[in-house]
């Protein structure tokens, strides 16, 4: 029995508004004419779409790169993580404990250490400032997470389903492809969404491994470029920031339950 208190909903709305104020402020500035930005109106009184025109003019190549890098990261992540997750959950893998341990430790490695190592290696083999180089580096953010998320789910698939496939003479690969993967659809979607979002949002690898990449740089570098400019253009910068937030917004709207599942994935066990 939970008592309903009349005051709770208004307070919750106020707290949410406070929390989201920076987001609102970004949107507000992105619609305000250049001359009026500094006056700090609470609503875009001096409304304009000019900043978005600038985004369309300047940022399209970066947006394209980000989409390619995001999709590439999803592909690499799933290709590595899905079979391994199945193996860890359902097959006899020698050294399973070591592998599980390595996956947890991998998530704790500071990204700056990884980027220093990658930078030196990429410099030698010519992968600096390339899309494949960035995809491979970005995938390291998602692979350990994806393996753990997927294997936690696959461990819960009813044994009878796998046995039935085997009795029908399916090979392990066939079972994986035709039974395990379709059943695991939701967790595959969750893993893919996060892999895409993290690659899309990545600043550290982009700013180290891809900083001289020209149009092959992702949108995070497009925004960062504005910061370095002598005369900071806050309007186009905030408009680009709004555009760069679109994937996160879409994710929250279409996949809300997957998001919460992703945050808690195993971090709290009961």
């Amino acid at each position: 029995m939970v008592r309903r208190s009349w005051w709770k909903a208004p307070v919750a709305v106020a707290l949410t508004a406070l929390m989201l104020f920076p987001v609102y402020w970004m949107i507000n500035v992105s619609f305000t004419r250049r001359e009026s930005i500094r006056s700090g109106d609470v609503v875009p009184a001096d409304f304009t779409l000019d900043h978005y025109a600038v985004v369309l003019r300047d940022q399209l190549p970066y947006l394209g790169t980000s989409i390619v890098v995001g999709l590439g990261t999803v592909a690499v992540t799933l290709a590595v993580a899905a079979p391994a997750a199945f193996a860890l959950a359902r097959l006899a893998v020698p050294g399973r404990r070591v592998l599980n341990f390595a996956l947890i430790v991998a998530q704790m490695v500071p990204a700056v250490v990884m980027s220093l190592g990658f930078y030196s290696i990429y410099n030698r083999i010519g992968l600096l400032n390339t899309i494949p180089g960035l995809v491979l580096a970005d995938s390291t953010i998602a692979v350990p997470f994806a393996v753990m998320l997927l294997s936690a789910f696959m461990a819960g698939i009813p044994r009878e389903m796998l046995q039935a496939a085997q009795l029908d003479g399916a090979s392990t690969w066939r079972t994986f492809r035709s039974v395990v993967m379709p059943i695991s659809r939701n967790s595959v979607i969750t893993a893919s969404l996060f892999a895409f979002l993290w690659a899309w949002s990545d600043f550290l690898f982009a700013s180290t491994l891809n900083r001289e990449g020209g149009d092959l740089r992702p949108i995070t570098m497009g925004i960062y470029h504005y910061i370095g400019a002598q005369n900071q253009e806050w309007g186009p910068m905030m408009a680009t920031a709004v555009v760069a937030s679109v994937p996160a917004a879409v994710l929250l709207v279409v996949a809300q339950k997957y998001v919460a599942a992703g945050v808690t994935a195993g971090a709290v066990k009961d």
Partner: protein
């Protein structure tokens, strides 16, 4: 901070379900297991172990711009570590890193728990929608949040100083050398609240509701219920949340670098390492070896706390 995101997880798959099948067809299954896991093992070696080893290797050799490009950096043992420790800024940076980390995770936790309790005992309409909206700061690219905070903290035209002016407080030079640590902590707390809220909220949901009912029947106030039921029963989740927060916050680069480029008091071990290798205009004074040495120190500290986290997780699972 991209991985502050990664709510990682001790989702150790339980042995139980797979084993009987495996036992019956042990030979095939073992080979299949190796084949399915092999890509991951190769991946971890190539894209985790190798860059890490490369990083450590660089910290033991003296690299400059020339030797970085052309090779032939001489082995110098632990000289670079000695140099790093001897730098006058080393201990201030360690102190700033500690302040950044401890203040961030403490406030994130307290605010996250307050919000989680509020929403949990709520039962009002909109509750789930508003909770979803609270995730927004966590989902946004850090470059987006970082630039927005930077603009809000603009000394002349920023909305924070405008607000302070309304309530009669002198404007703050948020991003100046002295205040920059406070400013990046504020932004980082904002980034981390959603993670704490979600984890603690799901922790609260695992506390049986009848405990509260029984306490309420016995006349315990909401305050007493919080301290006598919520706090003790949430202790395992609290430990996990704080330790994970610690590991993630230690290694934060992006929000700090985007807001201040690690200037003034906002320099931490992570941004120091980043700046020495990749800082702006550094092409003439790139110090890869020092950057790697600081990075390795950071790695050791992060892994030490990480191992404590894993040990605690294991123990909790055995209970």
């Amino acid at each position: 901070m991209s991985t502050l995101a990664a709510a990682p997880a001790a989702a150790w798959p339980t042995e139980a379900p797979g084993i009987p099948v495996a036992r019956r067809r042990r030979r095939t299954s073992t080979w299949a297991g190796i084949a399915f896991a092999a890509p991951l093992v190769i991946y971890l070696v190539l894209f985790y172990a190798y860059p890490l080893a490369q990083n450590v290797w660089m910290s033991l050799h003296h690299f400059d711009r020339n030797t970085f490009v052309n090779g032939g950096a001489p082995f110098v043992g632990f000289d670079i570590y000695r140099e790093v420790f001897a730098q006058p800024r080393f201990w201030p940076v360690v102190r700033q890193t500690a302040t950044f980390t401890i203040v961030s995770i403490t406030v994130q936790y307290v605010v996250g728990l307050a919000l989680a309790t509020f929403f949990h005992r709520g039962g009002f309409r909109l509750s789930s929608t508003l909770r979803a909206l609270f995730l927004v700061p966590w989902l946004l690219p850090v470059i987006v949040s970082g630039t927005t905070w930077q603009w809000m903290m603009n000394p002349d035209n920023g909305v924070l100083n405008a607000f302070l002016g309304v309530v009669g407080v002198e404007p703050v030079w948020w991003l100046s050398a002295d205040s920059s640590l406070m400013s990046v902590i504020i932004a980082n707390i904002w980034l981390g609240i959603p993670f704490n809220l979600v984890i603690l909220y799901s922790g609260l949901q695992n506390i049986p509701g009848d405990l509260y009912e029984a306490a309420a029947l016995d006349g315990a106030s909401a305050w007493q219920q919080f301290w006598r039921i919520t706090v003790p029963l949430l202790r395992p989740v609290t430990l996990v949340t704080l330790l994970l927060g610690l590991v993630y916050t230690l290694k934060v680069v992006d929000i700090i670098w985007i807001m201040t480029s690690g200037t003034g008091t906002s320099q931490t071990l992570a941004t120091w390492s980043y700046g020495m290798a990749f800082g702006k205009g550094s092409s003439s004074v790139i110090r890869y070896s020092e950057a790697s040495a600081v990075g390795t120190i950071l790695l050791v500290v992060a892994l030490a706390f990480g191992l404590i986290y894993i040990a605690i997780q294991r123990r909790q699972e055995e209970d």
